[in-house]
Amino acid sequence: SKTSSSLVGAVGSVLNRSKIDEEMYEELEDILIGADVGVNTTLEIVDRLRREVKERKVKEPAELQPILSEILADLLRGEDGQQGMNIQAEGLTVILFVGVNGVGKTTTIGKLANKYKREGKKVILAAGDTFRAGAIEQLEVWGERVGVDVIRHQAGSDPAAVVFDGIQAARARGADILLCDTAGRLQNKVNLMEELKKVHRVVKREIPDAPHETLLVLDATTGQNALQQAKIFSEAVDVSGIVLTKLDGTAKGGIVIAIRHELGLPVKWVGLGEKVDDLQEFDPDQYIHALFQQEIEKAEE
């Protein structure tokens, strides 16, 4: 497959050595840590690799590549494999977007609205960020771009009330999908997390099995704090999946491996730019390939 062959290149350059030795493992550690995988997960990956090397009596660095690929894919896919979006076949699907400041929540809503609209679904947006300057207008621009309605209140009003109205409007207009924006908030702000819980409660009160998805948006540029974000947002509003944005830069967002492994949260979408089409379903193999992209390029030079 594409992944294993790319890893051949990757590991070939990483390890570009005649034998499996300490230095090689250290270099591999650096690559993983440099991709924001984090110390603990990196050590675990490298430990697993060492064990496999011992058990399978691997001698040649070339034989390591499929093993490493297996380990990473295993961590990223989890036990239940890759999960798609929980979209209701009948009736309204409510999707709530949460996350810290500036990660790409509003932009992702614009992109996803476009995707579902193209699939022939009726989409409505709820402007649940009533706090940040210009946030409502930003979502409205996206609504116009994509051609979907935006339910809004005034700046400074109660976000739970906006989302409540969003649900009523979606029902009244027979919408298939309601995408709810929320203000960015740092996970250590207790009041703001309480406000988010209230939004979540209001959705649940209206539709018991909603929100059908609660997506935590993470910026790939973020380091180890992303794990903390995932933990605390999950505790507050029962996150169902991750959107990893800004992967079009040079950051790798490797912390999602730890998030999947430790919290069981799957990545569902990746953001690859600021345009409406720059959103893709997450593909673990492609992601692993990209983790080693630079190493591959170095090897090819």
Binding site: D36, G38, N101, A133, Q138, R145, D219, G223, T250
Partner: protein, 307 residues
């Protein structure tokens, strides 16, 4: 806090040294391993960590630690001193010399440029009696101009814009001309977020710089940034010759190791810290406090005092 502090880690690593009387190089090596892990967990770039560890090890293996009766505390002391030195030691101020003096805000998407533009203008008008003009030169992000205008209303300062159909270079240039006409002594230019690898967008910033000759070009960096901070800071600095850095979202619970990475690769001082979303949540940056924060060592200073 998500991580245990370096002090506790060093304590346990050095526990066994107690009563040993003498510390060996192997002991120091073990302690350095803990320092390395603590810095990596705080998101300091791994290459920066390597250089740092080499420096500290040299000092530690030298006279200071090996001969000490309290090697644990001595190691912490050396680490803290080196880190504070690397962070820049003294607090750095803005250098606003020209009339009007132009400040350009640059950085990745979502870092906090627009918010910081508002905060900094507020700070300059309140704390330094300046008359700022804000210039809306982000024509790309939906409602970016509106965002700056709302901030301008909140702080009671004027915002110059030509809508989103104009070239940002021209907007910046005309903004500065307007400031001259109307007697503003400082102009803050909000630019669109961009990736450091986007050549066209980086060229746009260079063109703005050529036209408006800013006194300050501030890179706005999210304190939660991970390993990539070095690439971002290095590229922006190479293309634009930054004069300083603003670290945002320090009101979060991140260790903020990116601060050290950025300082190490650009040698530009962090001048301000963003401490919240409101317009008054901006503070001058304290390098020494940042060093302690990165190491998670609120209690370390007391430990050192005991040493």
């Amino acid at each position: 806090m998500a991580f245990e502090g370096l002090s506790e880690r060093l304590q346990s690593a050095l526990q066994k040294l107690r009563g040993k009387g003498k510390v060996s190089e192997a002991d120091v090596k073990e302690a350095m391993r803990e320092v390395r892990l603590a810095l990596l967990e705080a998101d300091v770039n791994y290459k920066v960590v390597k250089d740092f560890i080499a420096k500290v090890r040299e000092r530690a293996v030298g006279q200071e630690v090996l001969k000490s009766l309290t090697p644990g505390q001595q190691v912490i002391k050396v680490v803290n001193e080196e880190l504070t030195r690397l962070m820049g030691g003294e607090q750095s101020k803005l250098e606003l010399k020209s009339k009007p003096s132009v400040i350009m805000m640059v950085g990745l998407q979502g870092a906090g440029k627009t918010t910081t533009t508002g905060k900094l203008a507020h700070y300059l008008s309140k704390k330094q009696n300046r008359r700022p003009l804000l210039v809306a030169a982000d024509v790309y992000r939906p409602a970016a101009i509106r965002q700056l205008e709302v901030l301008g209303e909140q702080i009671g300062l004027p915002v110059f814009s030509l809508g989103d159909k104009e070239n940002p270079v021209r907007i910046a240039e005309e903004g500065v001309a307007r400031a001259k006409e109307e007697g503003h002594d400082v102009v803050l230019i909000d630019t669109a977020g961009r990736l450091h690898i986007d050549e066209n967008m980086m060229d746009e910033l260079k063109a703005i710089r050529e036209k408006v000759k800013p006194d300050e070009i501030l890179l706005v960096v999210d304190a939660m940034t991970g390993q990539d901070a070095v690439n971002v800071a290095e590229s922006f600095n190479r293309e634009l010759e930054l004069t300083g850095v603003v670290l945002t979202k320090l009101d979060g619970d991140t260790r903020g190791g990116a601060a050290l990475s950025v300082k190490a690769v650009t040698d530009r001082p962090v001048k301000f810290a963003g401490m919240g979303e409101k317009v008054d949540a901006l503070e001058p940056f304290h390098p020494d406090r940042m060093a302690s924060r990165i190491l998670g060592m609120g209690d370390v200073l007391t430990l050192i005092e005991k040493a």
